[in-house]
Each structure stands twice: as structure tokens, then as C-alpha cells.
């Protein structure tokens, strides 16, 4: 730590934050690793909240004509479950991986715009808190002219129009009260967070790669981050505009989606899914990236067909913008549109298939270490294939008109987003655990977690295929006893509780291993990419000197060559190399200037919810608070240098003086 130089104090309205430990060091941090960790914990918290909401839904559906939740509560719970899992759990947990790993994988010291990165995080937190404040302040009720038998509880005072917010049901007439405004404005705020980080990551990948890190030498996870960033950058503006329209319709009496004013409710569907389908790939591509790192490492083989996997990822991202109407096959679209979007949906199966076959090619003939991250990665392939195949049955438009809006769809996308995205994410959490914490996780508990999760997952979501085909529609608060759906619903509910136990095992393992886990060596997996060539936990400066990259999987090739059969052979001197790397990694021999912490991203971010409240409650004082926070944040940020001048810097003649200033 001695080599890090204390910045001089700032001469601004606020003195510059300088603590390196404690809560303020985290709140003001601009370090991509700390931001990544905070993203991870916040997203996991929301994952638990979304999971609790799911358990409430499952208790309600465990038997026919149940009365555990009221209709209003049920509708609020499924809306918040979907919204939470997508925008507050899976997306930010992917952002946690991007933040932590991206600079490490390309050999950079940080992302291109560290304070912008902090801004993304704090806007995400501000948006999430804003959305959830609906449980305190929001109101909901029966449509205009309708009657309710009981008072609307706090649990039901949340958005209730579905995460897809179909108009006009989510409009003011049919969803009165403020809850849907919390939803529309909350998503708007969260969208800003994602947009900001998308541009940050694109810039980082294009500009901050270390020497020799050509594009086609980048790890696949970095490639997928790149693809996701483009998806975010192109798809979020669409939903931003659509959400503005909704807010205008609800608050200012416009009629973008209201038939009585010449608007069109189907337009909302087009705009929503034009964003919503790329969003699906925003959720799944990070997991594709993670398993593309895990599988080769534990197979001790390179990724099979690296260029194909990279291009397939971008193919999926590109075609993903041309399939949106497959969410609307039963809606008001023409047979020509049905045929077109059916075909484009089939086409997207091709690059997806290429990825799956290439992953199989990767493990084929390998030497597989079946530890927890590998099990999750293998489980990912198995479960994702099921979700992919049921996805193909949706591209068959006539069949989809039977399946759409039923539990068959619920089964399908949970196989993709839970069996796919979340299994991939767990694989990554275990895989990089030693790098982040410098300790090993507990392997036995990890394996228990995997098997409980695999079983619980299939018991929960497998029977949903059957329930959907047997006619159970989505978003159904109750189902009639005569539909004979009770038995399998009960099984599904039992499965959901197995999943809850699995999550508890994961948390126990995490808490235990963080404190008591074995000390991790810096390369515990004999891994391939350069983030494993630095000490664990990652030093604050990442790389003590910028690495030079000579090939794909550079770190592996430093350790291994190939004999005449093409088998991996450990190079002579590898042990010495590893010792040297660790020694160097801990003791940088040059001065390292790290971006200084800042209050301003936090201040700027927390201006936004005030503007949101101001719109909902038409309040000028709240708007003023919001604008003032934005101005302080923006102005302070603008006048504050990224790095403080350093006391011992020779180019700075004021250095001595400034130290006395303290």
C-alpha cells in the first residue's frame, strides 16, 4: 500500500472524501471493484425480495380458489416480482460482473469513466428505492366505477399492471392511484443507470485495452459485455420514450395509448417488446459469457470455436431486434407479420444452437473438474437447452396462439432466465469468489446448493409446461377446482420452497467462506485469462504494471505449451513465473495514480427520485430539491478533477504548500 500516494485535499464546497476504509469509503468510491461488489450485494438483496414475492404467489396458487392473497395483492406481487427480478436483480447482478471483471480481463486500471460508473450504481439504487417506496406511499384501487370489498392493503399498493404494463389497463382510468406512476418513473430512472454504464463499458472496451489485447484476443465474457452494452444503448431509448408517453398519458392527459383520444394500445405493445426482446438477451448474454470462461478452465481445453461463439453472440444481439412481435402473435397483427416474425424467431435459434454445440465441443475430450462453478455451468447448458427448445415451439405461430399467456410461457422463460441466466450467474459467483475475496468457498456446501437448486428448479418450473398446456393462464389469482390443475400447482409450490432452501445454503456458504474460508492462491483454477495472473483478492491497483498480451488465453499460454500430439504441457519455469507474478502484483514499482473518490455521483443520482416524486405529486418544492441536487452534483462534478493533484508529484510545485493546507 505504500506506493499509493495520498491526494491533497480538494478546495471545493465539500472537502474531497479521502477515507480508504469504512462506510464513506464505499459510498464515495469510484473503484470499479468496489462498485461491482456493491452492485452484487444490492442486486442479491433485490433477488431475495423478488424471491419472497414469488413465494407469496406460489402459496396463493398452491390450491384452487385459494384466498391467501387478495386479487389486488396478487396482482401487485406478480408485477413487482417480474419488475424486480428483471430490472433490480438479474440486470444489476450482471452489471456487478461487468464492473468487477471487465477492467481485469482487458488489463485496465479502471473503467474509462470511474465517476460515471459510480453514478450508474447510485442511480440504480435511487431507482430501486424509488420504485419500492410505492409500498410506503403508493396508492392503487379498482378501475373507475368499480367496487372493492375490502380496503387496499399496503402490500397491494404497489404497481399492479404487470411488468409489461399493457395499455390501457395500466393507464389512469383502469389503474387509478399512483402505484403505476412509481412503476413508470422508477423504470425510467433505472434505465438511465443502464444507459450510462452501457456507454462507459463500450468506451472502456474500445479504448482501455492493454497492449496486445486485440479484439479477437478478448475473453468471451468481455465480448458479451460489449454486446450487452450495445443492446442496452439501442433498446433503452425505446422504452424510455414509451415510458414518457405512459407518464404523460397518466399525468398530463395525453392519449398516446388511449383509443378514446385516437391513440393505440397496440402501439405500446410494439414499443415495449421492441425494447423487451433485446432485454431478454441483455439478461442472458452475460451468462453466456460466464460459462464460456468456466467451461474451458475446468475442461483444461480452449473454447471450441472462439470466433464462432463471439459472432454468434453478436448475431443473437442483432437478430434480437427483429423478433419483438413474437410476443404478440395473438394480438392485432396480420398473418404476414405473424409469418415474418415466426421465421425471424426460428432464425435466432441457429446462432443459439451454434453456441450450445460449441460449448459441448469444449468439454468433449477434456479433463473435467466437476466443482461447483463447473456444475452450474453444465447445469446451465442442460436447462438452457430446454428453454431454447420450448422457445422454438413458440416460433410456430399457430402453436404459440395456444401457449401464449399460459404457464407454458412462464415455464419457458424461467428455464431461460433462471435455468439459464441465474445458473450462469451462480457459476460465475463461485468461479470468481477466490479472486474477489482471497478465500475459497466451501465446496461441499456449493455442491449441496447446486443439487438442491437443480432439483428445486425442475420441480418448480417443469410442471408449469404441463399446467400451461392444460390451460392455466398467466397472472391468474385463482383457478377453478374443475380445471383439475390443483395437484401440479401444489408440486410447483413445493419446488419453490426447495429453491428457497437452496438459496439459504448459498447464503450460508457465502457468509461462512467470506470469514473462514481457506486462503485462496491467486490462480486456484489453473485458469486462462489475465485476471488470474494478479494476486487474490485483487489489489486496489489491479495490475502493478500493464500486462502485454500475446495471444488469446494469454495467461494459460504463459503456463502451458503443446506437445506434438497437441496435448497441454506445463512449461518449465512456470512455478517461478507464478511466484514472480505474485511478488510483482503485490509490489508495484511505479507510482500509481488512482481516480479519487467523489460525493458528486451520489448527490446527482439522488436528485432523480425527487424529480419523480415531483411529477407524481405535482409538487414544485420537491422539483426544486431534485433540481438543486442535480445542479450541485453536476456542477461539483464538473469542477472537480478526476484525480487530485498528488503531494509528492514533481510536476506540481504547489505540492508542499498543499500539504500544509491540510
Amino acid at each position: 500500500m505504500t506506493k499509493i500516494i495520498e491526494p491533497k485535499k480538494q478546495r471545493n464546497i465539500f472537502s474531497r472524501p479521502s477515507s480508504e476504509t469504512g462506510i464513506w469509503s464505499w459510498i464515495t468510491t469510484v473503484d470499479h471493484k468496489r462498485i461491482g461488489i456493491m452492485y452484487g450485494y444490492a442486486a442479491f438483496f433485490f433477488l431475495l425480495v423478488g424471491g419472497l414475492e414469488a413465494l407469496l404467489l406460489r402459496i396463493q396458487l398452491s390450491q384452487p380458489d385459494n384466498n391467501f392473497l387478495s386479487a389486488a395483492e396478487y396482482n401487485a406481487m406478480f408485477t413487482m416480482h417480474g419488475t424486480t427480478m428483471i430490472f433490480l436483480a438479474i440486470m444489476p447482478i450482471s452489471a456487478a460482473f461487468f464492473n468487477y471483471l471487465l477492467p481485469l480481463q482487458i488489463g485496465a486500471r479502471d473503467v474509462a469513466f470511474p465517476r460515471l460508473n459510480a453514478l450508474s450504481f447510485w442511480i440504480f439504487i435511487a431507482g430501486g428505492l424509488f420504485l419500492y417506496s410505492t409500498f410506503l406511499f403508493g396508492t392503487a384501487g379498482a378501475p373507475e366505477g368499480g367496487y372493492l370489498d375490502e380496503e387496499v392493503s399496503r402490500l397491494a399498493s404497489a404497481p399492479n399492471g404487470g411488468w409489461f404494463g399493457y395499455q390501457p389497463n395500466a393507464g389512469l382510468k383502469y389503474s387509478p392511484g399512483t402505484a403505476m406512476d412509481y412503476w413508470a418513473i422508477g423504470l425510467q430512472i433505472l434505465g438511465i443507470a443502464s444507459l450510462v454504464s452501457a456507454f462507459n463499458f463500450i468506451t472502456t472496451i474500445l479504448n482501455m485495452r492493454t497492449k496486445g489485447m486485440r479484439l479477437m484476443r478478448m475473453p468471451v465474457f468481455t465480448w458479451m459485455t460489449f454486446a450487452v452494452s450495445f443492446l442496452l444503448a439501442f433498446s433503452l431509448p425505446i422504452i424510455a420514450i414509451a415510458l414518457f408517453f405512459v407518464t404523460f398519458d397518466r399525468q398530463f392527459g395525453t392519449t398516446f395509448f388511449l383509443t378514446e383520444g385516437g391513440g393505440d394500445p397496440v402501439l405500446w405493445q410494439h414499443l415495449f417488446w421492441l425494447f423487451g426482446h433485446p432485454e431478454v438477451y441483455i439478461l442472458i448474454l452475460p451468462a453466456f459469457g460466464i460459462v464460456s470462461e468456466v467451461l474451458p478452465t475446468f475442461s483444461r481445453k480452449p473454447l471450441f470455436g472462439y470466433p464462432a461463439i463471439v459472432f454468434a453472440g453478436f448475431g443473437i444481439a442483432f437478430i434480437g431486434f427483429g423478433v419483438w412481435a413474437h410476443h404478440m402473435f395473438a394480438s392485432a397483427i396480420s398473418p404476414v407479420a405473424q409469418a415474418g416474425f415466426g421465421l425471424s424467431t426460428m432464425i435466432i435459434a441457429v446462432p443459439t444452437g451454434v453456441k450450445i454445440f460449441n460449448w459441448l465441443g469444449t468439454i468433449w475430450g477434456g479433463k473435467l473438474t466437476l466443482n461447483t462453478p463447473m456444475l452450474f455451468a453444465l447445469g446451465f447448458i442442460g436447462m438452457f437447452v430446454i428453454g431454447g427448445l420450448s422457445g422454438v415451439t413458440h416460433s410456430v405461430v399457430p402453436a404459440d396462439t395456444q401457449q401464449t399467456d399460459t404457464y407454458y410461457i412462464v415455464a419457458h422463460f424461467h428455464y431461460v432466465l433462471f435455468g439459464g441466466a441465474l445458473f450462469g450467474i451462480f457459476s460465475g459467483l463461485y468461479f470468481w469468489f477466490p479472486k474477489v475475496w482471497g478465500r475459497m468457498y466451501n465446496e461441499t456446501m456449493g455442491k449441496i446448493h447446486f443439487w438442491l437448486m437443480l432439483i428445486g428448479f425442475n420441480v418448480t418450473f417443469g410442471p408449469m409446461h404441463w399446467l400451461g398446456l392444460q390451460g392455466q393462464v398467466r397472472r391468474t389469482w385463482v383457478y377453478a377446482e374443475e380445471t383439475n390443475l390443483g395437484f401440479w400447482n401444489l408440486i410447483v409450490t413445493i419446488g419453490a420452497f426447495i429453491l428457497a432452501v437452496a438459496i439459504l445454503v448459498f447464503m450460508a456458504n457465502w457468509i461462512y467462506s467470506r470469514r473462514k474460508g481457506e486462503k485462496a492462491p491467486f490462480d486456484p483454477w489453473d485458469a486462462r485469462t489475465i485476471e488470474w495472473s494478479i494476486p487474490s483478492p485483487t489489489p486496489v491497483w489491479n495490475f502493478s504494471k500493464a500486462p502485454e498480451i500475446k495471444s488469446l488465453d494469454d495467461f494459460w499460454h504463459q503456463k502451458y505449451g503443446e506437445d506434438e500430439d497437441g496435448r497441454a504441457v506445463r512449461r518449465e519455469g512456470t512455478d517461478e513465473l507464478l511466484l514472480k507474478l505474485e511478488e510483482e502484483g503485490l509490489n508495484p514499482d511505479e507510482e500509481i495514480h488512482l481516480p479519487s473518490p467523489s460525493y458528486f455521483p451520489l448527490i446527482l443520482a439522488f436528485g432523480l427520485p425527487f424529480l419523480g416524486y415531483a411529477i407524481i405529486y405535482k409538487s414544485v418544492p420537491l422539483a426544486l430539491v431534485g433540481v438543486i441536487l442535480l445542479l450541485i452534483g453536476g456542477f461539483g462534478w464538473g469542477t472537480e478533477p478526476l484525480e487530485e493533484e498528488f503531494e509528492t508529484s514533481e510536476e506540481n510545485p504547489d505540492a508542499k504548500e498543499s500539504s500544509t493546507y491540510e
Partner: protein, 338 residues
């Protein structure tokens, strides 16, 4: 034909495939028990896709499990060969899926256009979605009814549909797929039932508080039964009840308690303007009410009339604070509306 026969056993096979021990055959909303040509076309297409998917499923999962067991690390295992890819294989597994998908795409596109075509000599019926019930109008016969769609067997039906409020989605799983009901524009759906039978319908699209209770029935009748049903529907309700009967008392409740704000009974009372509640003229012969959420019997009617919002949260039918006597009379009267 052999293959057809093989596919007939598919229900059983699917059951065993999904490890289903308590396999339910009598689910009234089962989309896998087609009872008409439209649903059957869809069903055939689904099973074609399903079996292709099953084959791919076993190939991929087989390769995965084989790799896990066969290539598992063991102490004496040598380091693996470092294979970076194989162009031939990669092209192969790009092209084969394209061919498989093309074999699904051709019948898919054909079926899309077949299902969308208006059948010749179809009976036209209008379906209007309301929160939370379906209204049916027969323009050829000047009939308005609700909750139970009555159709002649073995006759193509053309539904012309729209919504009066939010999006709804009309679904009779055994007769065809779903189609949205959209405010401000018309959508179309064909039905065709092989036999005289009762089917269940359900709103598919989330449409607010009581979405799950927006249900329906489709009653397919023989042509002669259908004709007499039509004759009966075209009659007005009787307006000459015995003034000492309970039914007459019930009619007075209907006329005075507030029901006439929304409910029409032809020959007794007409509501001006937009219809927001079911036409009750022939309420007594419908076997379900309240958006088909309840069976039509005195017990259910008592619960409903005492507090509609308890049965269907958000309903537009107010609690009229009727006395027990008034409810009893009203039920008696509704029972006479055959």
C-alpha cells in the same frame, strides 16, 4: 397413417416423458384435446415440433451427460488435446438446424394463413370484451347474450371481436388458439366444433383485478337444438307475471332497486346508451353467470347479489344492500327468465 396412430398414443407418451403419474385427462381448458378442425391443425403442428424438439433434447443432453461421465477428471488422465475448433463441424451444426427449422417453417407459414382465412358460409358472431365478462351478439338473428356462447355443431363460426375497455384475449383451447380483443379495432377468430359439447373459455390477457375470473362457456348444439335456441332467444321476456307471485316481487326489485341502471331485460326494461352489464333476458337458461365464474344456482346467486365485489374484486356491479327477502324474490324472478 402408421405415424398418425403412433402419435395418437402421444398423450400417454408425454405423460411418461414428464414423469406424470397423476396425469389429468379431464382438464376442461386442455389445449391438447382438440375438438374441432382449427384446434386439430394447431395440435398436429405442435406435436410435429414437439417430437423434433424431443430428439434434439436427447441428443444434446445425451452428449452433455456422456461428456460429464466419460471425460471426468481422474488422477491418471493425461492432459487433453488442445482443440481450438473444427470448421467442418461448426458449419455442419449451423446448417443442420437451418434444415430442421425449415421443415417446421413451411407448415407453420401455411397454417398461419389457413387459420386466418375467413371460412365460407360461416356464422358471424360478435364478441365484445368487458371487465370481466364476454358479451356475444348475433347480427343475423338480432340476439344479445353473455358468458355462454351458443354455436351449432360442425359449422364454421367467424368471431368478430373488440373490447369495450382494456385488452382481453379470447380463448377456447379445445377449438382454437387465442386472439386479443382490442379497444378501437376489430380482430377475428374462427371456431368450429365437431360435436355437440360444452367447452370452457378463459380470458388469456391480464385485464385487471378479476382477470382470473373472466371465464366463459361455449355450448355447441345440434342444428335443430340451435335453431330452437335462436327462436327462444328472439322472444322478449314475459311482462305479465301474477302479481301475487314471488317472481313478480322480484321483477319489482329489478325495476326499483337499481338493477335497471345497467341491465337490460328485453320487453321489460331497456338501458339507453352503452351496455356495460350482461343482458338478462334469458338469464335462466344460462348455466353460469358473473363472467362464468359461478354456476347458476340459487346459492351462488345469493352470495353474488349480497356482495358482488367479494366474488369479483373491482366489479362494476355495486352492492345494492338488498334484504334477504329481496334477494330471494330476485332469484325467483331471474329463474323465470328462460
Amino acid at each position: 397413417m402408421q405415424i398418425k396412430k403412433f402419435l395418437k398414443t402421444r398423450h400417454l407418451m408425454l405423460c411418461s416423458f414428464l414423469f406424470i403419474t397423476a396425469c389429468i385427462e379431464n382438464a376442461p381448458l386442455d389445449s391438447l384435446s382438440p375438438a374441432g378442425p382449427y384446434a386439430r391443425t394447431i395440435d398436429d403442428l405442435f406435436w410435429l415440433t414437439f417430437w423434433i424438439a424431443v430428439v434434439i433434447f436427447f441428443i444434446v443432453q445425451g452428449a452433455l451427460l456422456f461428456s460429464v461421465f466419460y471425460f471426468k477428471d481422474s488422477p491418471d488422465k493425461p492432459e487433453p488435446k488442445q482443440i481450438h475448433g473444427n470448421n467442418f463441424l461448426e458449419i455442419l451444426w449451423t446448417i443442420i438446424p437451418v434444415i430442421i427449422l425449415a421443415s417446421i417453417a413451411v407448415p407453420t407459414v401455411r397454417t398461419i394463413f389457413d387459420l386466418a382465412r375467413e371460412p365460407e358460409d360461416a356464422l358471424k358472431i360478435e364478441v365484445i370484451g368487458h371487465q370481466w365478462w364476454f358479451e356475444y351478439k348475433y347480427p343475423d338473428f338480432a340476439i344479445t347474450t353473455a358468458n355462454v356462447l351458443v354455436i351449432p355443431e360442425d359449422t364454421p363460426i367467424r368471431l368478430e371481436m373488440w373490447s369495450n375497455d382494456v385488452l382481453h384475449n379470447y380463448w377456447v383451447p379445445k377449438l382454437n388458439g387465442k386472439r386479443y380483443l382490442v379497444p378501437g379495432q376489430k380482430t377475428y377468430l374462427n371456431l368450429h366444433a365437431d360435436n355437440a359439447e360444452e367447452f370452457w373459455a378463459q380470458c388469456g390477457e391480464y385485464c385487471g383485478l378479476s382477470h382470473s375470473k373472466m371465464r366463459g362457456r361455449v355450448l355447441s348444439l345440434s342444428q335443430s337444438d340451435f335453431d330452437s335456441w335462436v327462436m327462444n332467444q328472439q322472444k322478449n321476456a314475459a311482462n305479465d307475471l301474477d302479481q301475487n307471485s314471488l317472481a313478480y316481487e322480484g321483477q319489482q326489485v329489478y325495476l326499483n332497486a337499481g338493477c335497471t341502471q345497467c341491465h337490460v331485460i328485453d320487453g321489460v326494461w331497456d338501458v339507453q346508451g352503452e351496455q356495460i352489464a350482461p343482458n338478462l333476458t334469458h338469464f335462466g337458461i344460462r348455466n353460469v353467470f358473473a363472467g362464468a365464474a359461478l354456476k347458476n344456482n340459487p346459492e351462488n346467486l345469493t352470495k353474488w347479489l349480497a356482495n358482488p365485489a367479494q366474488i369479483k374484486p373491482g366489479t362494476f356491479m355495486p352492492n345494492l344492500e338488498l334484504t334477504e327477502r329481496e334477494i330471494e324474490a330476485l332469484i325467483e324472478y331471474l329463474g323465470t327468465l328462460k
